[in-house]
Subunit: 127 residues, 2 copies
Amino acid sequence: MSSWLDKVKWNTDGLVPVIVQEKGSHQILMHAWMNRESLSQTVETKKAVYWSRSRQSLWTKGELSGHYQNIESIRLDCDFDTLLLTVRQDGNIACHTGRHHCFFMSLVDREWLVTEEILKNPEDIYK
Amino acid sequence: MSSWLDKVKWNTDGLVPVIVQEKGSHQILMHAWMNRESLSQTVETKKAVYWSRSRQSLWTKGELSGHYQNIESIRLDCDFDTLLLTVRQDGNIACHTGRHHCFFMSLVDREWLVTEEILKNPEDIYK
């Protein structure tokens, strides 16, 4: 009944990396991790649920900010060990810094330059 | 002199996950890993060099297949622990199965369905 969950090759910590891409813009919003339970809940609720390695707990993206990620599609790669989500991002903000996405530093002449603006002050997101 | 390499938060194995996105199509081609040396060589050669965890060695993508990945941009995320490459894919094939990209299984009604065609027989790629 949950054989689709068994097809995923969870690592020794029971996790797989997850790439999160925005439907429409095709931008990469973030990179996260899932365990079996978070993938199961993601499919059930149609909202992204990750595994927080720092807090060692399930984490429904948006539970504090309201910036939920609504699932459009879930893909698995050739090694069965990485997931790709396509999502619709509530609030247009995926990053905890208040930016649209998390990949806001670009390598230019061997320096990391910030190349994305802050859309909302994090203090106003998490209050 | 290599302080940009020190800004990256390498994990306990000295690695970071790498998302590889195609310029133009914006498709996610693959997910890989880099260590300090592979990122350094990637910047130097402008071709993607990864760390193969299975072979425990540096791996210039395309060295066997000719399907090199030419670097357009390199980004780092808010946690300094994930890279996003934008590349031009030689040969239009990134996956070792002969497909354009590696994320060719889609979850449909709790089943993984193959949703991408094989463009070239792997036996004809790796010979």
